[in-house]
């Protein structure tokens, strides 16, 4: 993954960057499989590697495939990135050790889900039970987010086209006049 990231930074051909981004997503998906989160791995492989790559390629088709030369020094963005990254790493220092049974998140509702999910929802997959039943509100929110994103993209991109058509029509009517 580190090699892929260095490749992304060094590459100036945006086509290569998009493909490397897809490769990074696939690697991340394998990491999720190793962590026993197959659901997340499937989502990462499908959305991250599949959909995003396709959409980025569609965008590349509309723009140029070479990176534009930098107009300003990269010092300030680099500083912001380093500060944010540093803050995030500092935040992880306080987290409890990974995967211990007496961690706070394993003490609260997780044992209840694990013990009762199959009995109460007849669904052997606890993830599905939690997603759809115990946390239905959350999932409804997520679906609404996707809905909103889709509507937003549709409105933004179809409006531009309509304006193009109006401009074309105006040109035509002038010609007629």
């Amino acid at each position: 993954m580190v090699v892929v990231v260095i490749g992304i930074i060094r590459a100036h051909n945006l086509f290569a960057v998009v493909i490397l981004g897809g490769a990074y997503s696939f690697l991340l998906a394998t990491v999720m499989v190793v962590l026993d989160a197959v659901d997340v791995a499937m989502t990462e492989a499908a959305v991250g590697a599949g959909m995003s790559t396709v959409l980025l390629l569609a965008v590349l088709h509309l723009t140029r495939t070479r990176e534009a030369p930098l107009r300003h020094a990269p010092a300030i963005p680099l500083l912001v990135c380093l500060l944010t990254g540093g803050a995030l790493v500092y935040g992880t220092l306080d987290l409890p050790p990974f995967g211990r049974a007496d961690n706070p998140q394993n003490q609260h509702v997780a044992p209840y889900y694990l013990e009762n999910a199959e009995k109460e929802t007849k669904s052997p997959n606890v993830v599905t039970a939690v997603l759809a039943s115990y946390r239905g509100y959350d999932t409804l929110g997520e679906v609404t987010v996707i809905f909103t994103a889709g509507i937003g993209v549709l409105i933004l991109l179809s409006r531009r086209r309509r304006r193009d058509m109006i401009v074309k029509d105006e040109g035509r009517s002038k010609d007629v006049a």
Partner: protein, 148 residues
């Protein structure tokens, strides 16, 4: 356009049913194995997108027309939210599926199934809609290049 590559066309035609079946498997097997509406939705959309990339967006829109996609986006959310309203009307909390079946467990099972279907519809159609919009613009750019 990739339409002229014979190998790609044949492979896509062979793969399409497999991908769609896999999407349905992920959808309806979600209770038992990994998966659910989100993953299945993306997989199903990916099948249509693959078709659209190889055979052209117009052909894909013959299979799944744009108006249908656009109505499916809110339809999925409506199904999800409507399930909650249905359980409200049956005298339980919002999105508590227990009263939907004869026994609470059956109700939960049915509720999860319906809600996942709603998720599937919204996710698949949103992905497709975004692809149609982007791809449509790419086609327009091609036409402009052709004119100029």
């Amino acid at each position: 356009m990739l339409r002229d590559t014979v190998i790609l066309r044949v492979v896509v035609k062979l793969l399409l049913p497999a991908i769609l079946i896999f999407a349905l498997y992920v959808q309806f097997h979600g209770d038992y194995g990994p998966g659910g509406g989100f993953q299945a939705g993306v997989a199903a959309a990916a099948a249509i997108i693959l078709y659209g990339m190889v055979f052209g967006i117009d052909e894909a829109q013959k299979v799944v027309p744009r108006p249908i996609v656009n109505t499916m986006i809110p339809l999925g959310v409506l199904i999800f939210a409507g399930t909650g309203v249905a359980s409200l009307l049956l005298g339980e909390n919002y999105l508590d599926y227990s009263p939907l079946g004869s026994k609470p467990v059956k109700g939960q099972h049915l509720g999860i199934l319906i809600v996942e279907a709603g998720v599937f519809i919204t996710v698949a159609s949103t992905m497709l809609a975004i692809f149609y919009v982007f791809g449509g613009r790419a086609d327009e750019a091609d036409e402009k290049e052709g004119e100029g």
